[in-house]
Amino acid sequence: MAAAAAGSLRRAGWGLWRGRAVVRWQLSPPQRPLQASAVLRRVSDEHKKEPLASSSQQQFDSHPADHQPGQEPQGPDPSYTGQGSQESEDYESEEQLQHRILTAALEFVPEHGWTAEAIAEGAKALGLSAAAAGMFQSDGSQLILHFLSQCNTKLSELLEQEQKLVQQGEAEKKPIDQFLRDAVEARLRMVIPYLERWPQALSILLMPHNIPSSLSLLSSMIDDILHYAGDQSTDINWYTRRAVLTGIYNTTELVMMQDSSPDFEDTWRFLENRIADAMKMGDTANQVQSTGEAIVQGLMGAAVTIKNLTGLNQRR
């Protein structure tokens, strides 16, 4: 009943609007409160059902504004920190709602795979209609990319914390190979809950229209690891180190997918060996170069000797 009254009030308001010159609000879509967030809070907050329902109807009648005095009796929700200048703390943008749907959808991935069905189940878990999954692409790529960026964020936080501990002197600074090994292992362990469906995810990421985004996420992750490892190179080493680590990461990931040993011991041993190889490769490169130089000099000497012997060197 309140809804009907509010609806008719709103329509009367619309009638007034039509009389004036129509001004297109380029900013208005993000400013308007998402009704879904009011619905979701209603679902999660049993006690405050009534005031929320009526106040969410009110906000459609009044002129869309940033502040609704007395709208939320319990004060700003702590999970929505004030992001973006246009929204007050209680409203969330479409982006935030999309992130929430994707996070909720991750639970359904083991059952449905990385598909639009999992996203639909996630939307239903949040109290929205399954049709909300139409907001995302139908191949499920946005779900995978969301998961990847979540993992990368978690990894950065982990490495940041470790660095703080080292700076405060509470932990020993690890040698480079140990550090890389731990970082890659930590990152790969985040994939373990979804390991059964991970091959599907990788194949979707390899599709041409997904390659730019997946590649950028991968490279930013590798960059993060090397940054916290203390890499400050400014020459060709910057590129070679990243390329080598990317190769190690990708191959270890592939090994992990067909690994059936307890707690993936085989995978970690493989990782250890590859990193050891990479370390040795640096030394070997130098050795090869000096050996090469020595060989070239030897050949030059041999050539001169032969010339001397055959008398080509003499001027006649």
């Binding site: 809804a3 609806g7 709103r10 329509r11 619309w14 039509r18 297109r24 208005s28 879509p29 308007r32 998402l34 009704q35 879904a36 619905v39 459609f60 479409e94 709602l97 639009a116 069905e117 639909a120 939307a123 109290g127 929205l128 209609s129 399954a130 049709a131 909300a132 999954a133 139409g134 907001m135 139908s138």
Partner: protein
């Protein structure tokens, strides 16, 4: 008043305007806000009661039961006269391409089993039947996948699986709503002929005032119908009202062509060929004249997108089919 060329249309416009003004004075009430009926500018009352001009002589239609006063007899009259030949005319006018457009719409919708669809102005049921087919095949795949996992089950699990929902549609429902009884009748007959029985309902109703409760449907579609609505903003608000939170609004409609060469060919085809086809196949020149003119008067893609956003929808976007001849607008109630 054949009105083939725009000039002829304008002459008819002056004539109809003067006639309508005189009629308004006779009736003694103020002429209401102006709107359009094809290329003619008329009052809203006129558009609703446009029987002499639109129907081309012939009996005034009896007002269908259940509609409020001010029912749109004019548009009603147009569709009553074309209801029986609607599908045939669609095929001949668009050379059968309208089937592809409707297929794209349902594929874009990507419905899962359990979806509640409201198809407004969907009289002959094209979208409804495609929806049912799509959901049926998705549901079959779902059940097959479940069967694959059912190879090594205990007796308890087998007993449980008998209690599971195995219905072929998985709880999906379509409500087809139309303002015109004739179109619904044709739709019901088609459903019987094609063998669609479950999951379908046929409701008589006006898009500007839907006879449904709030927050009822997952998806609201209106295919080639929003053009005929007098107050598009009201229809959009009603769509917003009846959709669940998270629900999707989809609108398939003729729109403006951006490519100038294609636009010239399209205009030529529309004004020269389509009314002739209408006369030959359905025996009704004027209705198809109205159709083509209403397409030209309809707001272009960006304007319709803005109107949908005004109604409260988020993530509003449109997809042009055939470079703008037809556009699918989509919005979410978030």
């Amino acid at each position: 008043m054949s009105g083939l060329s725009p000039a002829g249309g304008r002459a008819a416009l002056c004539l109809s305007l003067s006639l309508s003004r005189r009629r308004g004075a006779l009736r003694g009430f103020a002429a209401g806000p102006q709107t359009h009926f094809g290329f003619q500018t008329v009052t809203e009352e006129e558009r609703r009661e446009k029987s002499e001009r639109g129907g081309g002589g012939g009996a005034r239609s009896v007002q269908p039961p259940g509609l409020r006063a001010g029912a749109r007899l004019g548009v009603n009259q147009v569709f009553e006269s074309v209801a029986k030949k609607y599908d045939v005319m669609n095929d001949s006018m668009t050379l059968g391409i309208h089937r592809l457009w409707k297929d794209v719409l349902v594929r874009k919708m990507n419905p899962s089993p359990g979806t509640q669809l409201l198809d407004v102005a969907g009289g002959t049921g094209d979208i409804a039947f495609r929806f049912i087919n799509y959901v049926r095949s998705v549901r079959e795949r779902q059940l097959q996948r479940r069967l694959k996992h059912h190879q090594n089950l205990s007796w308890q699990e087998i007993a449980q699986s008998y209690q599971e929902d195995k219905s072929p549609l998985g709880g999906s429902q379509v409500v087809v709503c139309d303002i015109n009884k004739e179109m619904l009748k044709v739709g019901k007959e088609k459903a019987q002929d094609l063998g669609y029985s479950e999951g379908l309902s046929w409701v008589l109703g006006n898009a500007e005032e839907l006879p449904f409760d709030d927050d009822k449907f997952d998806v609201y579609t209106i295919a080639f119908g929003i053009r005929n609505v007098t107050r598009i903003d009201l229809a959009l608000q009603e769509a917003y009202r009846v959709l669940k939170p998270g629900g999707r609004f989809l609108c398939l409609e003729f729109s403006q062509v951006s490519n100038p060469l294609l636009s010239r060919l399209y205009d030529l085809y529309s004004f020269q060929v389509i009314p002739v086809l209408g006369e030959v196949i359905a025996g009704d020149w004027k209705s198809y004249q109205y159709l083509v003119e209403s397409i030209r008067r309809f707001p272009p893609q960006e304007e319709l997108k803005a109107m949908i956003e005004d109604a409260g929808f988020f993530k509003v976007d449109y997809q042009n089919l055939n470079s703008g001849i037809v556009a699918i607008h989509s919005g979410f109630k978030l």
